[in-house]
């Protein structure tokens, strides 16, 4: 750039300093575009982009500033680790190359000028040895370690000083650290055994001389080109951070006090975590952890955070080893990993002897076939690079970083094969254990909806219907022998597990109050149980509920709903699908043994609706919406990076993994929803694209507003606001840039209040002018949603405090925000146009009926129920007004799920007496649909989602259509 024609010379900046934030955005946009162009093209660009001279001067001045900086200004971060230049001299050594850096400082490849040999020189971080005592301790231990001379230990040559720098010269080991060699499938049995033997030999040698490693881990064990292991950093296992040296400066007994925690947490022994001094048995624990990782592919303890991990090391059993590992080797590993030192091997030589015995035995019998063949290949093609004593950390890190940074852009290649061909929608695939039968639901939904169970023999059998009554059902699952199919059947508030014979027959109730049931043994099942209110936990028992115990309790004891559970093949772990009052949450991994909240797995944030395990337990699968619709994801167990498998405009939900692990069956589909208007001319369609929902008719009746759904990784669904001019049919995006979950139009049709969703700030409430007379204003700062206009310039809405939602009111400029109802609610269902009645959905803790719809007078009067044993049915996100009013408050509209109601697809309209927001209710609310139908003047409208207009014959409605079929997705690269 330096020689290219400069566009402008530096100029006097006077007069350019009065830049407002808005102005800066303008300047910035032009500047960015200009900088992206070649210098010679900028002038032409500016000619057209800058209409006013002042703007142009400003941009040109900044371009000049940029060019003078040559792009390097601030390019190096403010703080950096000290570096030695290649070619410089350190003591008797010429620096040849920088190898890497680790906790111990930067490592260089160097040449010994006297002996001519190559070696590694580790430069200690500045300030690390500032303290005299720490320095003495460190140097003494390094000196000790330099006395070690063993083929399995990288030799330390010298600890030296030059120009105030302390360095360690050591053997240059060419090879790859075990951390780069072990992949998630572990090493071949005999290889792992051989490496462990060599490490134990090196440890035995050092321990006999009273030297402990303290920080043995895969990154510190390098496999050389000729296949032998060398342990690095013996006796140097002090993490020389100032923080740690701070501990060493404690006056008492500093030279021998080894209380500071060193080493890598994953390989730290329990006693190290407790801050006790390390001894030889601490190394033996690390050897056990290393051996375990070589055999299983993952370390023996897992945790998402340092806290969880250390807690696992201190308290939990190590993860089990794969079944191909001989029991003798399993018991050696276990003994190394005993929590108490006294229970471990006491000397490395004992481990070595035990491993030798197994090796003699194993090479005779099991060696060649112990691993699947692709293992060898994947090792061989792994990147080859030289790694030198101590310098391996960052290289491995760099490679890992490139490879695994959310590789959702490079999903594994997949191939699709259509399995069903329904003209509407099927969902919830399940495969029989032998993979030859496919069960599924003929349902418009992937969740709770009227549905029948079907079965199909693979590959070409015709689908056969097994249930015939269209009850609300979800979630199908085969019994272990394939003879029965379980499903959840929903009647009012009862969620029960039923079975039907796979070859046809009469359905029978298996377990009441049990949903999402799966078999985890011949007569053992795991399912979700509603305890009180909404709260759903995962439990396991036999088929008669004998021996029932809790597996997972959602942390929120009121609105936590664990719906689905999937046991890992090794029976140790459970994948959980759960939701709260706002919808699906990310998936969760918890121990089957119970008592733990586990941790989030799969993409997050996301809405995760189903999960599965590969047959070998090494992969976890998810169907989740991380912001781009529901798609399949997978993640290596336990803590690989989530990878997106499928993508595109259609969505995938439900996962049935084929027994051979090469494919999964999923439901692929697309939902469409159109807005219709019913008026004196009859019913006509207003929208035809995408998923249009939550319509409302403008007060003057000339427009229909609606939301056009966009994808969201959050627990609620949002869309963009559109308006259709009913006279011309013109469709406008009325509030571009806002992702809206609910809106309300003011009575005068001039203003709109809405809840807008932002990935960063969550959901907040905004006010905007539909006539664009003022820019949108943000009214709330904290998580809040479902706003309603009320008279007197008031807005009612929900505000989240902790994990609970409360009904609030405020003035329409955002002032005077205050709670209206003291108790939390599940949802705000409606506010009457006169602002006097607030209808909310509440959970009923301690009741077996999960729902009640309660009316609260906003003046603080006594609340009364609309119904107490009623489902507020339907996905709330459709914007379906379960209770609503005509604008003049002459009619009340609602739809409730009441006993005796055949279909939940009908809505009711009730005329109101003047000055009233509700009809006269039976005391205790509506109990049956007959009571409802007995109200004078009631009218039934055959619409599920109805949005009132000026009179009961004018209303907007939504009609949804779902096209969904089952596909087999063939995976490769797994």
């Amino acid at each position: 750039m330096g020689n290219g024609p400069r566009l402008v010379a530096a100029r006097n900046e006077e007069g350019l300093s009065d830049v407002t934030p808005e102005r800066w955005q303008e300047v910035k946009a032009i500047l960015a575009s200009a900088l992206e162009r070649a210098p010679e093209e900028r002038r032409v660009y500016l000619d057209q982009a800058c209409t006013e001279p002042a703007l142009r001067r400003e941009v040109e001045s900044l371009i000049a500033s940029h060019d003078q900086g040559n792009g390097s200004f601030l390019e190096q971060p403010a703080a950096r680790i000290k570096e030695l230049a290649v070619g410089s001299r350190l003591g008797p050594y010429d620096i040849v190359a920088r190898i890497g850096a680790g906790g111990m400082g930067v490592v260089y490849k160097a040449r010994d000028t006297k002996l001519g040999r190559l070696l590694a020189v580790k430069l200690l971080p500045e300030g690390a040895l500032a303290d005299a005592i720490a320095r003495a301790r460190f140097l003494r231990e390094a000196q000790n370690a330099s006395s070690l001379n063993h083929p399995n230990i990288a030799t330390i040559y010298e600890i030296g000083e030059d120009a105030g720098e302390t360095y360690i010269a050591m053997e240059f080991v060419e090879g790859r650290p075990l951390s780069a060699i072990i992949d998630r499938e572990g090493l071949a049995l005999e290889t792992a055994l051989r490496y462990a033997l060599e490490i134990s030999a090196g440890l035995a040698h050092a321990h006999e001389r009273g030297i402990v490693h303290r920080d043995l881990k895969p990154a510190n064990a390098v496999v050389t080109a000729d296949g032998h292991v060398k342990i690095l950093d013996f006796g140097l296992a002090k993490k020389l951070s100032p923080a740690e040296l701070g501990e060493a400066t404690l006056p008492a007994n500093a030279l021998t006090q080894a209380g500071a925690i060193v080493g890598t947490l994953q390989y730290m022994a329990p006693e190290t975590l407790r801050g006790e001094p390390a001894d030889a048995r601490t190394d033996i624990w690390a050897l056990g952890a290393l051996l375990s990782e070589m055999l299983a592919g993952t370390p023996p303890f897992h945790g998402r955070t340092a806290y969880e991990l250390s807690s696992a090391i201190l308290r939990e059993m190590p993860a089990p080893l794969p079944p191909h590992v001989p029991s003798s080797l399993q018991s050696v590993t276990q003994r190394c990993l005993a929590k108490e030192r006294e229970q471990r091997y006491q000397r490395a030589s004992e481990v070595r002897a035990a491993l030798e015995a197994i090796q003699t035995h194993t090479t005779d019998i099991a060696a060649p076939a112990s691993r699947p063949p692709q293992r060898a290949k994947s090792s061989a093609k792994t990147l080859r690079y030289a790694s030198i004593a101590g310098g391996v950390l960052l290289l491995a890190a760099a490679i890992a970083a490139v490879a695994i940074f959310y590789p959702r852009h490079q999903p594994p290649t997949v191939r699709y094969e259509q399995v069903t061909n329904f003209s509407d929608s099927v969902s919830s695939p399940a495969l029989s254990p032998d993979g030859r039968m496919l069960a599924f639901l003929h349902s418009e939904s992937t969740f709770d909806a009227p549905a029948d169970v079907w079965i199909k023999l693979l590959p070409d059998g015709a689908p056969v219907q097994l249930t015939h009554d269209g009850s609300r059902r979800m979630g199908v699952e085969f019994s272990p022998d394939g003879s029965r199919i379980a499903y959840t059947q929903i009647a009012q508030w009862n969620w029960d597990s039923w079975t039907v014979p796979s070859l046809g027959g009469t359905p029978s109730l298996l377990l009441p109050d049990a949903s999402g049931l799966t078999w985890i043994g011949n007569r053992q099942v795991m399912f979700s149980e509603i305890t009180t209110g909404l709260y759903m936990k995962i439990v396991t028992s036999d088929e008669n509920r004998g021996g029932q115990r809790d597996v997972y309790l959602p942390p929120d004891r009121e609105i936590g709903m664990a719906h689905r559970s999937y046991l890992s093949p090794d029976r140790k772990w459970v994948l959980i699908v759960e939701m709260d009052n706002r919808g699906w949450l990310p998936c969760r991994l918890t121990p089957f043994s119970g008592g733990s909240q586990g941790r989030i797995v799969g993409p997050a944030p996301s809405r995760c609706t189903s999960a599965a395990w590969s047959a070998d337990g090494k992969w976890m699968y998810f169907s989740a919406d991380a912001g781009s619709g529901f798609h399949l994801w997978r993640q290596k167990f336990p803590d690989g990076v989530p990878q997106q498998i499928t993508s595109g405009a259609s969505q995938e939900e439900g996962i049935a993994v084929a027994p051979d692990g090469k494919s999964v069956v999923t439901a692929i589909g697309a939902e469409q929803s159109s807005v219709f208007l019913h008026d004196s001319q009859g019913l006509r369609q207003i929208t035809s694209q995408g998923y249009a929902y939550s319509p409302s008719i403008s007060p003057d009746g000339k427009q229909i507003y609606y939301l056009l759904r966009t994808n969201s990784a959050r627990a609620f669904v949002a869309g963009e606001l559109h308006s259709v001019d009913l006279a011309t049919g013109r469709d406008d995006n009325s509030l571009p840039g806002f992702s809206i979950s609910r809106y309300d139009i003011s009575r005068d049709g001039q203003r709109i209040v809405f809840a807008a969703l932002d990935q960063k700030t969550g959901s907040t409430i905004w006010l905007a002018s539909l006539a664009h007379s003022f820019p949108p204003r943000q009214l709330t700062k904290t998580e809040s949603y479902r706003p309603y206009f009320a008279p007197g310039g008031e807005i009612f809405y929900l505000s989240r405090e902790g994990n609970r939602d409360y009904v609030y009111r405020m003035k329409d400029e955002g002032a005077a925000q205050q709670r209206v109802i003291p108790d939390p609610v599940i949802y705000l269902l409606g506010v009457s146009p006169d602002g006097r009645e607030i209808v909310v959905w509440v959970g009923q803790t301690g009741s077996n009926s999960p729902n009640a719809v309660i009316v609260y007078p906003s003046d603080g009067g006594k609340p009364f129920p609309l119904c107490t044993r009623c489902g507020a049915t339907g996905p709330a996100y459709t914007g379906s007004a379960i209770v609503n009013w005509s604008l003049d408050q002459k009619y009340f509209y609602f739809r409730l799920d009441l006993p005796g109601m055949h279909s939940t697809n009908d809505s009711f309209v009730i005329p109101l007496a003047p000055g009233h927001a509700l009809p006269d209710l039976p005391s205790g609310g509506f109990a049956t649909v007959d009571e409802l139908k007995a109200i004078p003047g009631v009218r039934e409208i055959p619409e599920r989602n109805i949005f009132p207009g000026r009179d009961p014959f004018t209303y907007a409605a939504m009609h949804t259509a779902t096209l969904r079929n089952l596909y087999r997705v063939w995976l490769s690269g797994g």
Partner: protein, 192 residues
């Protein structure tokens, strides 16, 4: 757990707050290390054996952050925001002190920490930069954060993009324009 060592950073922070310059200097490498480590762990999802070293354990603040961490970017972003801010404060405070020492306002401190050397050798006046970043942040808060994360926090373009929740291309664009603005701003100041 490791209570004895976990208070170290907090102690340093407190000491620094009371004007102890050694504490500040001791903090620089610790916080920087920590930042890089957590960056790698959280942004790259690196295997823990490469990263979770003892410094992670000793930092109570870190433990608190990771323990409370919900699986959402916001919290990570918050961590990096705080850590980068802390780096900025430490480094700028250090530079300001050096400046004061040079002008004879205090006893000269000659312990130049090498971690700072690159920035100073390149002639960047951190105190002036700090002021300029403040002005930029008033104009464009996101660019202010970006400078903090990139320059003071040492995050890469990609890491910064994840933390800010924008695309790397956006970070590049914002980075280029912010630097052009800052450079001019600093020149303007030094001229007056």
């Amino acid at each position: 757990m490791c209570a004895a060592s976990s208070t170290r950073i907090n102690r340093l922070l407190a000491d620094w707050g009371q004007g102890n310059e050694e504490a500040r200097e001791a903090l620089i490498p610790v916080v920087y290390d920590e930042l890089r480590r957590v960056a790698r762990r959280h942004l790259w999802r690196e295997r823990p054996d490469h990263t979770l070293q003892s410094a992670a354990l000793v930092n109570e603040a870190y433990l608190r952050l990771v323990r409370e961490e919900a699986p959402q970017w916001q919290n990570r972003a918050h961590f990096f925001g705080v850590a980068a801010q802390m780096m900025r404060r430490i480094l700028v405070d250090h530079a300001r002190n050096r400046l004061a020492a040079k002008r004879g306002a205090g006893a000269p401190r000659l312990t130049l920490d090498p971690e700072l050397a690159p920035a100073q050798k390149r002639g960047i006046d951190l105190v002036a930069l700090d002021d300029a970043v403040g002005k930029l942040a008033a104009l464009d808060p996101q660019q202010g954060r970006l400078i903090e994360l990139r320059f003071f926090g040492g995050l890469s373009i990609e890491e910064t993009a994840v933390v800010l929740g924008v695309s790397p291309a956006t970070v590049k664009r914002e980075w280029a324009t912010a630097r052009a603005w800052l450079r001019r701003e600093m020149k303007k100041d030094s001229a007056t």
